[in-house]
Symmetry: none
DNA sequence: AATGAATGAGGATTCATTCAT
DNA sequence: TATGAATGAATCCTCATTCAT
């Protein structure tokens, strides 16, 4: 319990790392199995602690899941919001940056599995769906919508319905995440190449948005 | 339960109708809840029978699910295969017909929920995934691939990699089904208009395929 | 099922034969699986009738079992009792005859499986055990006891405790039946030869009983 | 639940004792009811725990049964094997010791009920039958066969077929166990006296085996 | 803070028995 | 008589959650 300057005994450093380890294990299991099928015992085992310990840090399964989302996705969105607010250059560049950040930080990482999970199981867990909507979907969408508005306002983008355009931008990427985390890649169909998909998608979209 | 002029005793009409009623109820529940979360008791209740009755018609949950797929999706694919084999006109028309059939018979009906379910839970039920791959994905993909080859052979379509092109055709539609059956439509984001999506998609694609 | 010269219409002959067919099927299943593990549906199927039909002839599983015992074992005991009552010769011959009848009619037939079944499951079905005791064990034992008494009375057998001697006679044979119907014969141990066992057993016993 | 001087907290003592308590309860239930008819809930209740607790210690019913056999019968056989290997005296004495150990450790205890159970239900549970054959029947038989061979080799026993003789030795004892655990002892027939049976059996057999 | 033993509600499946036809 | 569809109680097993230590 006593604070100390880096000279902490190993078990204490351990204690500080615990939540991180638990969240990492939980992310892995949720992505691997889905929400309902994830057993907290497996999460605990993977983190090297007992099942009971999990409950010292997280009230229940639902809160554990929310914490995973907060620690990873929400944090990333927050950072993006701040970066966007501070950004001073061309809106096209800003948009490209935000989309590529989404790609590199989330889509191309195991975190994409969370998006797939929400699409897949959201109906069965309304509370989770609502949480995810508020903390992730709404904030993320709104960030993009605001960038679009900024571009239009500054005469960089053609005038268009920013909300609809946000959808047009968001949907394909979500679908790509879904796809890469379903069993489909395993099956006979030759794989979709996500990297190429994203690059083409962003390039095309920015061209289409350009004023004149 | 409704009276009818059928000469059979009500009891026997019942027996004939049972499998249909059970399959309908099962489809509804599977689409509503997903595979794992569907309780057979709920399926039975919705069909107006007891739990045990289900087992008179279907060996277990897995077979029930397969039966739902066979009775609906596989049957539709079979019909499409036959129609395609008998078709004599332009390949573009054939392709458009097959895609629109897919749309009207499956995507635009509750059956789309089955596709979503497989994408969502296929990883957790490998046996189901294999079945679905063989009976649905492989057959469906192969049908489209053959139509593309037919078009190229007849000089109607530009020469292209038919397998990759099949993916390009299939993936967006599967994604659309996924989307319409996730909780996302419920959320703040304005809905995607599937009908418009499909029409645009087909028109664009056919234009892109045309030779010259 | 085969035609015959019987004047009755086929379905009516069928009706008369039904109980026999059902009892035969039930015997087969009970011996094969044991009492608890026998499913009435299998009995019905083997007899070529529906499950419901079984209940037209037998109130329930228990009564079906009792009927099997009555139709086979009890009937045999009854015949033996009458034969014994009518018999006029040497007690040793009578005893040998009774034991050999037991052997040929029961031990060496599938009926031995019923004895095994009672030994194996009697504890779980007290009502059945009591029935079997009264109708089979008590009557059978008492028949042998009376033969022993007759032999002693007529000076043919040494005086001895007839009840204990009955046990000595009965137990090994029951054991033999048990043995031949357990899974043990399947296992590595070389098989016991029941025929030789019985012949030796009877010969030895009669020698041992002889007066002087 | 009883207080004790053990320094461990009651809770931990409990944990150590649990498997034993569960095995004891399981043995009791299996012997009482047979394998199929034993409900795991009853085992749990008798051990004073809930259904779920059982599954903390044993994967499923089958493994629970195997554990009962291992902890009791297999262990006893192992001890007998070692004792036999270390034994240095007359083969007749060794054989008598082994048979009497079998008697006192198993036949005369509730464990005999396991033998009865296997004879009674082995046919319905092939996996269990195989396990029991390998771990108990084969090892036990082989132990006796080796003792017979030792006696013959050392000129103590008449030359004879050791495998057949093993059967002659084993069968009656198994039958005795069967008998004492069937409902038969409850019935009208005067009881077999197992103790006397075994003593006579061993004495007679050893006499018969003696060379010259 | 950490443990891990214990719980018990919940769901898939089986089968003796009933009953409308 | 005969059918066979329907029932529902019974049982195995799982897993989120609790709590004594």
């Amino acid at each position: 319990m006593q604070a100390s300057q880096d000279t902490k005994p190993r078990w204490e450093r351990r204690k500080d790392a615990r939540p991180q380890e638990l969240l990492a294990a939980a992310l892995h299991q949720f992505v691997e199995r889905g929400y309902a099928a994830t057993r907290l015992e497996d999460v605990a085992r993977q983190a090297g602690v007992s099942k009971g310990t999990l409950y010292l840090y997280f009230t229940n399964k639902e809160e554990l899941f929310k914490a995973v989302v907060r620690a990873n996705i929400v944090a990333t969105i927050g950072a993006a919001e701040q970066a966007a607010a501070a950004f001073d250059g061309a809106s096209a560049e800003l948009l490209a940056t935000v989309l590529m950040t989404w790609w590199t930080e989330i889509c191309a990482t195991p975190l994409a599995g969370i998006t797939k999970l929400m699409l897949a199981e959201g109906n069965n867990f309304p509370e989770l769906a609502q949480f995810y909507n508020e903390e992730v979907v709404a904030r993320g969408s709104s960030l993009i919508t605001r960038i679009l508005a900024r571009g239009i306002e500054r005469g960089e983008f053609r005038p268009l319905d920013t909300v609809v355009m946000t959808q047009v931008l968001v949907a394909p990427v979500m679908m790509l995440m879904m796809w890469t985390h379903s069993y489909m890649p395993t099956c006979d169909m030759p794989a979709i190449a996500p990297q190429a998909f994203m690059e083409t998608f962003i390039a095309t979209t920015l061209r289409g948005l350009k004023a004149d």
